[in-house]
Symmetry: D3
């Protein structure tokens, strides 16, 4: 990894980020998020019921699912259904997305509804789980605004916003927002989920080859904080553009 | 169904058709097809091997898979993997897509390669299996042109083109290209797959409520022939636009 | 396929057809159908309930299942349960059988009952899906007559009868009722389901190698119409022989 | 159970037994066995290979599978494939059939071949596992005779014959060959598998309600010995009738 | 097998037996049973409900499950969940354990409760199914005593005790309690389940290589009776030691 | 959580830790680890092969599996095999254990072998994933020492040691090693995996209710570092006690 980073960015730079809000018109809320060559279709669907074990409490639930379209990777990836079960990585990722988004939902304000956030990867070039959280939040907020616009809710059932970004150590250098070639050679890979106010929602740092020092962990957290501020601004613009009239 | 048809079209009219070739950049060939509000992501991925039972014959294979994104329908559809198996309708559709596309592939010219055509429905408003065949062919041809451009093949391993359209009887009237509300109330539903030269590849006509007369079957086949000529022109334009430089 | 057809029949001839009504005494209605060397055990079982989503409407339902005994083919076929799921061909066939039989049931007259029609292939020599529909209808009618004889229904909940036959193009010649060797070399394979009154219920024509012309499709439909008239007569005799005293 | 036994038989009597050898013409060997109202289709299919872990030893293998057609019982039984796995009772029974038949096969004489014995219950009125063993042996012997007649084997790879019968205690009385109503009320239920020479191959005795005394176990074994002698004679007649010319 | 038996025992000797009652403190009742090198963790868990089809009858149910820890055998055994289903041997064993324990439960006295007895093999050296029954009964009784001590039941819902032991013929010699090397070479393998009062609950004798004579079956039953008397004494001591104060 | 902590410990205290090395004698290496009422059976099994995709590289692999015995929790937990697949939490945990242990294995030194580390929870009172890593390492080291003692390896294929501990924020107070009641009410839950030399292998911090500040994250990491030093000493004593003579 002695070469340049993609898009000519520095160690502290994000890849170009863009959103296409309302990408799936049959969903209550949706957005196509692109971060460099990574693109994820995010939708939020609302059902007027909750899982049986929650019935009668007056509160709602959110569940997230993650999938990769077969052609999203360089070598075609067989569908999970072919093996009859989601693979381990998929399970791990969708649990992370669900926890992260649930962290900013006010389930009492949502009422007895279930929000399904589906994140389907169209192109995978590193950072798909973080893109899913960042794009999934936009879909979620647009769905909530739709419920308010339709008179089903009086106010947004959200306590804040949430976004995620990766950071890692490659050849000893802390880098923000790894693309796939960087991720493949990283010594350490971290995913950081933060609220718009800068609180940590989830930190996952994994040393792939050599253990991580506390100093390097601090570097990664600082990089992530910068990146998430930038992502937050892009989320706000996307929600404004996609908001129901 | 006494009202007007969507897009103000006549009984013999298609909904607006458009293609976005190269929609998935990680695929060998791809296209997003839109027919009215129905939108399907079609990709063609090429693997340099064939199923074990075909090895050593020097010929290739094509297999098709079909899926619906959970938010593609008005009410969220659970992923097949949740139940551990593809549902019956999915199985039926992906077998139809595979048969239809295989009908125009010259497998000797393809050599020992497998082409996977994946059709993932982004929005479903009727006619998704026909859109998958029509868009899948564009993805397939673009993938084949890529193999030729890359010097892996000397000539296109295709014997022609293929497209599909639905037709049906609604309130006693034969209509071309049913949207979802029309499909839900149709007495007869037919899917017709034809080559660009006008040969029939597959005809599936199902009388949902009342049996179908031979005369009405002839009407449906005539409507389909008109629609497919129009789809064929749109396919050619899409391939021309998406062809590798 | 330059040789003679089995049983010395012409291009327009059916193989010998026979029924053994009441073959499974534990079923409400049943028949063993033999068409040449193809033999299928058909049973109709009645349950005094409907699927949950239909409860309270006062109408019934019919569902069909299809299976092949492992020794029914020349090379033993593994049971579907071994792989944990029905294979694609099985799914496609049982959906066809179900649609075809439901087309002649008056579900209001049936009341809140479910009829299960099970078609288990004892020997497979081509045309098992058509034999399943033709034999399945006999089992269905015998079961309905049993319900009337037992006083559970006032009248038969049937709007007519249904039968099915295959036809195909082999070496350019349209043939009725393909056996397995013919089916393996056919350019076009069609399955036609018709009511006793001659209405089309389902047409499925697939060009395996070369596209099908409209003229040839007409030939196949005409052959099928002849064959179904003959099958209808055999069905009537079987029901008369098997009818509860 | 104070009433008469079916078919007017005594405590020591079998129900009427009959065989239809060659019932499934596509199988290497087959027989339809009927014991009273219990009827089982038994087939033996031969594959010219063995499971991978046995390859190269020069010896063969036999595996048995058991299934019930959905309409074989008074209340329709869902197919195992619907739940994606064989139920516990099915697993237990097919293991018993396999062990019993393997007990009389000379696998060195069979060579590297696998025999599949499939037992599919057409009607179930008690004793289906015993009928499967007894009928399965006839199918197995007919298949072996076919291999000899075809010159694939020099001699029968069998060391003897095997048959099975149930016995039980009902209302304190030891009875041979329980039918379903008897089985449902039995205090003790035993299945006994014996060779034609009278050796025990498997004994399974289960006290459903009250423990079983040694004296009663002896009574059941004596009853079974009588029944198996009679079944052995019927097997011999069936093989003679079905033997390849 | 011309050598000495493990632990220097005679043909009629059990391996050393010990129990560690209360081994799993989160279970209602539990015991670790060791018979030589075979060790099984047995727990009894009580749920305050019954399967839906039993609701409202006022009676309870008991179900048993059996598993092997992957490292319990010399060569690691893959978990059943890896293949998505319990293997045939597991199914057969857990049905045997369930039948055996249900034979001594008074389900009316238990009330609408379900007892789950789980038997997880820590080390397998032959006789795991018998050890599961013998140890499972101790866990069951301790759980029942806990229910009485907690005032949930007035009296023990047990009609007696149950234990199991294996016996077999090795090199023509009847032996009690086979260890794994003996079991692997046995001509006949029997598992005998008896009540504390000496009644037979289940007898399963399987001739692996040569049929079994009645005389030898009698020998095996006599050996088993001796062994079970010894096991019964050990069970009583374990229950006394583990009984809630 | 205003009350005392279990075992009278301070916010910085671990629960009592103990190991029983060699607990499963059929495993190459094993240990039963107890941390308070949490007890996990850890085994390491060695196979003399690697997954197919790794063959021929001369390097080894380690895979970890995690399970809970049904009675390990207060309310019985159904086995994963009952549903046919591991649940999401299990998948997530066994991936964490595998990554953590692989971080200290020198796969070149191991050669083409696969080590399976199985962690089966006997009692669950919080912290089972951390106990699995800490106990799994002891089993792993004992297995490696066994390979060296048996002459299969020249030196230990380990680059260091690894242990894990949880920490969390309860009622605003950072606490080390949460038990189940503490974990259930924690605002933040973190699992920290470190090498014996103090390097971070994996950090997973999840804010369940309120976001986490950087200051609190630092507190949790400091607590974890203390706890892991103590666990490391206990691991060393366990390995010394269990080391092959």
């Amino acid at each position: 990894m002695t070469g340049e980073r993609s898009y000519g960015r520095t160690a502290e730079g994000l890849r170009p980020v863009s959103f296409e809000p309302g990408f799936v018109r049959s969903a209550t809320g949706s957005a196509l998020i692109a971060i460099g060559e990574t693109r994820v279709i995010c939708t939020a669907s609302v059902e007027e019921s909750v899982p049986r074990w929650m019935t009668g409490r007056g509160t709602g639930w959110l569940t997230a699912e993650y999938g990769m379209l077969p052609a999203s990777t360089g070598q075609r990836k067989a569908r999970d259904v072919t093996k009859g079960r989601a693979d381990g990585r998929t399970v791990e990722i969708q649990r992370l997305i669900g926890r992260s988004l649930r962290g900013v939902v006010d389930f009492s304000a949502l009422g007895e509804r279930t929000v399904y956030v589906d994140c389907d990867v169209l192109q995978a070039d590193g950072g798909t789980r973080c893109a899913s959280i960042t794009g999934g939040f936009v879909a979620l907020q647009l769905a909530c605004e739709r419920l308010v616009a339709d008179g089903l809710l009086e106010r947004l059932p959200l306590t804040g916003s949430v976004a995620a970004v990766s950071a890692g150590i490659v050849d000893g250098v802390p880098l923000l927002d790894l693309d796939y070639p960087e991720d493949s050679t990283a010594e350490v890979d971290a995913n950081v989920v933060m609220t718009g106010e800068g609180g940590l929602v989830e930190v996952q740092a994994t040393a792939e080859r050599t253990p991580l020092s506390r100093a390097h962990l601090d570097d990664l957290l600082a990089l992530a904080e910068r990146g998430i501020a930038e992502l937050r601004a892009a989320q706000e613009a996307a929600v404004a553009a996609g908001r129901p009239a």
